[in-house]
C-alpha cells in the first residue's frame, strides 16, 4: 500500500466528508433552533437533486448555475414544511418530542412516494455537466473535479453560514435558541425566526444536493443513503453546532475511507458508528455539544 494511495483515499474521504457536513449542517441548525430532528432531511436532499435534474433536462442549465435557483427553491420548501407541519407539531400539547419525530418520519415516506409518482422510479444521473468526468491532478493524486468542486462549495456554504450567525439575524437565531420564550418579550417574532431557520436549513441541503447531482445518481430513495450519515454527523458533532457538523463530517468521511481501505469496505459504516459510540461515551452531547 503506497503512501500516495493512502493520501488519495484520505483526501477523497475528506471531500465526501465536506458533503456530509453540509447535509448535516441544515439538520443541526434546525435542531439547535427548536429541538426538532427532521427525519425527512434526506428527502429534502432528494428533492433538490430531482430539481437539478429536471431543470437540467428542460433548459439545459448546468447544475453549477442552478445553485442559487435550487437553494431558493429549497428555502421555499423548508419554509412551507415549517408552516404546514412543524409549527403544528410544535403546537401540540402532548408528546411534542414524539410527535415531531413521527411527523417528519411520515413526511419522509410521503415524499418518497410523491417522488416516485412524479419522477418515476428509474435511476437518473447528469453526465454532461461542465464538471462531469473531469479530474484534477495533484502530483500522483488524482481527484475527480465534481467532488473537489462539491468540497469547495460546501466550504463556502459553511463560511456563509458562519457569517450569517454573526449578523443581526444570526444573533436573533442565537437568542431564540438560548431562550425560546424570552425572545417574544424583546420583540423577536419566534415563528418568523423558525421559518427562516427551516428555510436556511433546507437551502443548505439544496446546495449539497446540487453538488451531489454532479456525480451521484438520483432516485426517489437516494435521500436515505445520506440521511443516516447526516444524523450520525449531527449527533457526533453535537446538535446545534455548526463547527461540530463540519468537524464531525470530515471525521466521518475520513474514518469511512480509511476503514474501507485498511479493514473492509463493507464495514466502513461500522467504523464510523464505532467512532460515534466511542465519542458519545466520553462526550454524551457530541464533540461540540453544549453540555
Amino acid at each position: 500500500m503506497t503512501a500516495s494511495l493512502v493520501a488519495q483515499v484520505a483526501i477523497g474521504g475528506l471531500l465526501m466528508g465536506l458533503v456530509y457536513a453540509l447535509v448535516a449542517a441544515g439538520l443541526s441548525l434546525i435542531f439547535g433552533l427548536m429541538d426538532v430532528v427532521n427525519f425527512a432531511h434526506g428527502e429534502l436532499l432528494m428533492l433538490a437533486m430531482y430539481a437539478v435534474f429536471e431543470i437540467h433536462a428542460a433548459f439545459g442549465l448546468d447544475p453549477l448555475l442552478q445553485l442559487p435557483l435550487v437553494a431558493a427553491l429549497l428555502f421555499g420548501i423548508g419554509v412551507a414544511i415549517y408552516r404546514l407541519l412543524i409549527a403544528r407539531a410544535l403546537g401540540v400539547r402532548f408528546n411534542t418530542g414524539m410527535v415531531q419525530i413521527f411527523v417528519t418520519f411520515g413526511l419522509s415516506i410521503f415524499l418518497v412516494g410523491a417522488a416516485q409518482l412524479a419522477f418515476g422510479s428509474d435511476f437518473r444521473s447528469i453526465d454532461n455537466g461542465v464538471l462531469s468526468g473531469r479530474t484534477v491532478h495533484l502530483g500522483q493524486i488524482v481527484l475527480p473535479l465534481p467532488q473537489v468542486a462539491a468540497g469547495l462549495v460546501c466550504l463556502l456554504a459553511f463560511a456563509a453560514l458562519m457569517a450569517i450567525s454573526r449578523t443581526e439575524f444570526g444573533q436573533a437565531l442565537e437568542a431564540t435558541r438560548e431562550d425560546r420564550d424570552a425572545v417574544a418579550l424583546i420583540g423577536i417574532d419566534r415563528d418568523r425566526i423558525f421559518s427562516l431557520g427551516w428555510g436556511i436549513g433546507a437551502a443548505t441541503v439544496g446546495i449539497a444536493g446540487v453538488m451531489l447531482a454532479n456525480f451521484y445518481y438520483i432516485s426517489p430513495t437516494v435521500g436515505s443513503n445520506f440521511a443516516l450519515i447526516a444524523y450520525v454527523t449531527v449527533a457526533l458533532g453535537g446538535f446545534g453546532s455548526l463547527a461540530g457538523a463540519l468537524v464531525a463530517g470530515l471525521l466521518i468521511g475520513l474514518v469511512e475511507a480509511l476503514t474501507a481501505l485498511f479493514i473492509d469496505p463493507s464495514l466502513k459504516q461500522v467504523g464510523v458508528f464505532a467512532i460515534y459510540v466511542a465519542v458519545l461515551m466520553f462526550r454524551p452531547r457530541g464533540l461540540f455539544g453544549r453540555l
Binding site: 500500500m1 494511495l5 488519495q8 483515499v9 477523497g12 474521504g13 465526501m16 456530509y20 403544528r88 412516494g113 416516485q116 418515476g120 422510479s121 428509474d122 435511476f123 437518473r124 444521473s125 453526465d127 468526468g133 479530474t135 488524482v142 481527484l143 475527480p144 467532488q147 456525480f215 451521484y216 445518481y217 432516485s219 426517489p220 430513495t221 437516494v222 436515505s224 443513503n225 445520506f226 450519515i229 469511512e256 475511507a257 474501507a260 481501505l261 473492509d264 469496505p265 463493507s266 466502513k268 459504516q269
Partner: protein, 420 residues
C-alpha cells in the same frame, strides 16, 4: 385538526373495508386465467419491478391479442387449449420485503385464486413466495431469481426456466478459457466486487470457487454495503489489485457509482465481467454513457440473435411500446419467457387445476427457436430447474449489446484487452 384526523380515520377504515371485503370479480365465459406476479414496485428496486410489470404485460398482450409473433403462442387469440381464454395478470408489490412478499402471495392465492405466481427479482422474496406457493400447491415460476439455492429447497411446485448463477458463472469461466485459447491472452487473475446481499454474496462465493477450479487467482474480493454514498475507496482497491478482469455483482445504483468511481480513479479495467443485474439495466447505460463501452455481462438473452430467434424484433417492438421505448434486456426477456412457459403449460393442461398444471409444467419441452431466448430449449428437471437454458456472454459495443460467446451464436467478436 381533530376533524382532519377523524376524516383520515374514516378514510383508513373505508380503505380497509374496500380492500378487505370486496373480492375481485372474474369475468364470465371464457373466464380469464388469473396469474399473480409479485415484484418490488416501490423502493430501491422499483425500476426493475416496473420493467418486469411491462414485460409480463407485453407477453400477455401477445398471448391474448393478435400480434402474430413467430414463437410459441405468438399467434394470439388466447389459449386454444382452454377455449381461447385470456391470461390476466394481477400484480402485487413486495416492497422487496420477504414478509410482504409472502402475505401478498398468500393474498393472490387465497383471495384472487390465481393459478400460478410469477416473480420476484430478489432472492429473499423468492424464498418466501416459493415456500408459500409450495404450501398452497400453486406453481411458482421464478422468472429471473438466479440464486442456485432456490431450486435446492426441495420444493415440488417450483419451476425456473432461467439458468442459475452456477450456470452463469460457469459461462464466464468457459469464456475466459475459450478466449484465452483463441487470442493467446488468457485470464490469470480476477478481482471480485459484490454487494453484501443474498445475490452478491452468493455470486461471489460461486465465482471464487470456480476461479480456484480454473486455476485463476482471485486478487481481491471486495464486499460493500449496497446503496453506499461512495465507492471510491473500493475503486482504489480495484485499481491497486489491477486484475485481468473485474467481476462485479451489483444492482443498478451501485453499478452506476462503481463505474464512475473507477473512471474518477483513473482506472480502466482491462475487462469488466458483470453478473448481470445493474449492469444490464438501461438506466445504467443511460447514466454512465460511454463508460459502459466494453463492459461484458453474462446474460440469458441476446437481443441481436434475430437470425435464429425471429420473434425478437416483434417482442422488442411491443415491449418498447409498453415501456417508454426501453429495449428488451436480460431481465425483461426472462419475464416474457416465464409467462410464455406458464401459458404453454396451461394450454397443454387444458385445465387450471393445480395438479394438472404442475403435470404439464413438468412435461414442458419447448425448443429454443420457439422462444426469444438463445437457449437450447426449456425442459425441467426434478427440482424444477430448466436443464436446457444455456447462458451467453454479452459485450456492450458501440452503443449496443452484442453476443460474443458462445462463439457459435456470437454476433460480434469480443473486444479483448486482457494481456495487451
Amino acid at each position: 385538526m381533530i376533524g382532519f384526523g377523524r376524516k383520515l380515520l374514516l378514510g383508513a377504515a373505508l380503505l380497509g373495508m374496500a380492500g378487505g371485503f370486496a373480492p375481485r370479480q372474474a369475468q364470465a365465459a371464457p373466464p380469464d386465467i388469473l396469474i399473480g406476479a409479485v415484484y418490488p414496485l416501490s423502493g430501491n428496486a422499483a425500476p426493475i419491478g416496473h420493467d418486469a410489470q411491462q414485460a409480463l404485460e407485453t407477453e400477455a398482450a401477445i398471448i391474448n391479442g393478435h400480434h402474430d409473433v413467430p414463437m410459441l403462442l405468438g399467434k394470439g387469440g388466447g389459449l386454444p387449449g382452454l377455449g381461447g381464454a385470456h391470461v390476466k395478470l394481477i400484480f402485487a408489490d413486495s416492497q422487496n420485503n420477504p414478509q410482504i412478499a409472502q402475505s401478498e402471495a398468500q393474498r393472490l392465492i387465497t383471495q384472487d385464486h390465481v393459478v400460478a405466481i410469477i416473480g420476484s427479482y430478489t432472492s429473499a422474496t423468492a424464498v418466501t413466495i416459493s415456500q408459500i406457493c409450495n404450501r398452497y400447491r400453486v406453481p411458482y415460476i421464478s422468472a429471473e431469481n438466479s440464486a442456485p439455492s432456490l431450486s435446492k429447497q426441495g420444493l415440488t411446485w417450483f419451476f425456473r426456466p432461467s439458468p442459475t448463477d452456477n450456470d452463469f458463472t460457469k459461462a464466464m469461466f468457459d469464456f475466459y478459457a475459450a478466449i484465452g485459447k483463441k487470442t493467446g491472452r488468457p485470464v490469470h487473475s480476477v478481482a471480485i466486487i459484490h454487494e453484501n446481499s443474498v445475490f452478491g454474496t452468493d455470486s461471489a462465493r460461486i465465482q471464487t470457487a470456480m476461479a480456484k477450479a480454473a486455476g485463476i487467482k482471485v486478487l481481491t474480493d471486495i464486499s460493500y454495503q449496497a446503496s453506499t454514498p461512495s465507492l471510491s475507496v473500493e475503486a482504489e482497491r480495484l485499481r491497486a489489485a489491477n486484475a485481468d478482469v473485474v467481476m462485479p455483482s451489483s444492482y443498478t445504483s451501485d453499478a452506476i457509482l462503481m463505474v464512475h468511481a473507477m473512471h474518477d480513479a483513473g482506472y480502466t479495467p482491462k475487462a469488466i465481467m458483470a453478473q448481470d443485474a445493474g449492469f444490464i439495466d438501461p438506466a445504467f447505460i443511460k447514466a454512465v454513457g460511454p463508460l459502459a463501452e466494453g463492459v461484458m455481462s453474462r446474460s440469458s438473452f441476446s437481443i441481436d440473435a434475430v437470425k435464429t430467434r425471429p420473434a425478437i424484433p416483434a417482442v422488442d417492438a411491443l415491449f418498447k411500446a409498453h415501456d417508454n421505448g426501453k429495449e428488451l434486456n436480460d431481465l425483461t426477456a426472462r419475464e416474457v419467457t416465464a409467462l410464455q412457459v406458464l401459458a404453454d403449460a396451461l394450454n397443454r393442461a387444458k385445465s387450471t387445476k393445480n395438479t394438472a398444471l404442475r403435470a404439464a409444467l413438468r412435461t414442458t419441452d419447448i425448443p429454443g427457436a420457439e422462444t426469444i431466448m438463445p437457449w437450447v430449449g426449456i425442459k425441467f428437471d426434478k427440482t424444477g430447474q430448466n436443464i436446457e437454458g444455456n447462458p451467453v456472454i454479452l459485450q456492450y459495443q458501440h452503443g449496443q449489446w452484442r453476443t460474443v460467446f458462445p462463439f457459435a451464436v456470437a454476433t460480434a467478436p469480443a473486444i479483448w484487452n486482457v494481456g495487451k
